[in-house]
């Protein structure tokens, strides 16, 4: 087998022709007049231009009673209370960490809104402030829940549960937030031998399923034992599957990822990223999902 593979440019295939859904939607582009009726309320993605409601982004119009919004195809993450996010620490400040969460401003994790290592419950003292960098330092990845959203769109996070906290060994995949399906739970232990955290902000964390569910460390001690080869292979395959699903714009949730993983099993892990293989396995996934819906 050759060590290198060369490809010549080929015309792009339009995948959507086979699927005739979604054509009944009202699609708009920036500057389009949505309605001249003044009885409507202006939602996201729209603005008032002399007595008319005008779209400001490209996407589908959504109407809820009198409210008209335009949902853009992809945007940065807009926080909502209760969302699960995965983020990266960018800065350690006086009483807070700044966390990059793909939102339009960095999110805040207050020292007082996290569990201390050991699960101790008390007021945070000056010593705790000094030890902040020992808990989380710049570059660390965390999973957290959105506690509050400020008026300027910035988000405040909390990690007051053993589910949340610092992330150890695993793989981060960044996708568009609009591709992550909202669900009851965003922590999944997949039967294929790995776990995923599907952050609402489009950050997806794939990691080996932990042996025993959490010691009392509160998730701040990282397990640095080498991950067995088999687990690493499963994780790599899942990563490539997620990238394939994203390339074909399929929503991400536990079932779609699992079906895609199963569809990819006949192929080598590195081959999953080839465009034709991507198309094949995602098409199979789509069909299985449609069958599931009935």
């Amino acid at each position: 087998m050759a060590a290198m593979e060369l490809r010549l440019p080929v015309p792009r295939k339009v995948v959507s022709q086979g699927l005739a859904r979604g054509s009944d939607k009202h699609l708009v582009a920036p500057g389009d007049t949505i309605t001249t009726d003044t009885g409507y309320m202006r939602g996201h993605g729209t603005y008032m231009g002399d007595e008319k409601l005008v779209a400001s982004v490209a996407g589908a119009v959504e109407r809820v009673n009198k409210l008209i919004c335009v949902k853009a195809l992809k945007t940065r993450y807009n926080g909502e209370v209760g969302d699960i996010v995965v983020g990266r620490i960018t800065e350690v400040q006086q009483k807070r960490w700044k966390v990059e969460t793909n939102a339009r401003l960095d999110s805040v994790l207050l020292l007082s809104s996290m569990n201390l290592p050991g699960g101790e419950l008390r007021r945070r003292s000056a010593e705790d402030e000094l030890a902040m960098r020992d808990y989380l330092q710049e570059g660390d990845l965390i999973s957290a829940e959105v506690q509050a959203v400020f008026s300027d769109g910035a988000v405040s996070l909390h990690t007051r549960s053993l589910k949340y906290g610092k992330l150890g060994q695993g793989v981060l995949v960044q996708v568009s937030p609009s591709l992550v399906k909202r669900q009851k739970t965003h922590f999944h232990d997949l039967p294929c031998g790995a776990s995923v955290i599907l952050g609402n902000n489009g950050f997806i964390w794939i990691y080996p399923t932990p042996e025993q569910k959490d010691e009392e460390a509160g998730g701040f001690v990282t397990n640095l034992e080498p991950v067995p080869l088999h687990d690493r292979e499963v994780i790599s395959r899942l990563r490539n599957c997620i990238l394939a699903l994203v390339a074909q714009k399929l929503m991400l949730y536990d079932t779609s990822i699992l079906y895609c993983y199963e569809a990819s099993l006949p192929h080598q892990i590195k081959d999953i990223l080839k465009p034709e293989v991507m198309q094949e396995i995602v098409l199979e996934t789509r069909h299985r999902l449609l069958e599931l819906e009935g």
């Binding site: 995948v15 699927l19 920036p30 500057g31 195809l73 945007t75 401003l105």
Partner: protein, 245 residues
Amino acid sequence: MAGLELLSDEGYRVDGRRAGELRKVRARMGVFAQADGSAYIEQGNTKVLAVVYGPHEMRGSRSKALHDRALVNCQYSMATFSTGERKRRPHGDRKSSEMTLHLKQTFEAAILTQLYPRSQIDIYVQVLQADGGNYCASVNAATLATIDAGIPMRDYVCASSAGFIEDTPLADLNYVEEAAGGPQVALALLPKSDQIALLEMNSRLHEDHLDQVIEAAIKACKDIYTVLDQVVREHVHEVTTLLGE
């Protein structure tokens, strides 16, 4: 002009176009996965890539943050291989800095920056092949990239150049026509509301002819709009069909 006939007696230009005709426009949105928005455009032989990041937290100097709106940060660069003679600096020279400033002005007029206080929006434009109308192609590419990033805009921004040769206004000049040294107008337009985002003119033009030239440029911008709009709609349709919720 050394014998080069820019407009023949039959009304054809050097590349065989009519006076008001555009060059072939081909465009694609979403060419990069990593960026928030990206686009590629070809206008004749002028080829431009644009990428948009943001709105995101201020990077670099935080003191530049505006408390009531987003900062638009642009960078215009030309690939070293984009011109006939190899360029030494891809960006940062006088011409590129001026272009950067123009792009910034244009997009501050179009993007609804007040929705994102204390944030920053980065627009990076790179010319891969320069064959006249670099500013215009950059604006058009950046518009598509901004729309791809889902950043709210008042309207599209479409730009086109126009010149005035042998008493005829010519739309969308190519390199040969630009190099001839005649008057040249670059115009960025918000086509739906007919507002001008930027207007720039090089060399001298008689006042009586100005209206005609601007008219030609506006017409060209609207033609560009038709093409860009079609690209956007096809893209939106394709993606929504795939998402098919």
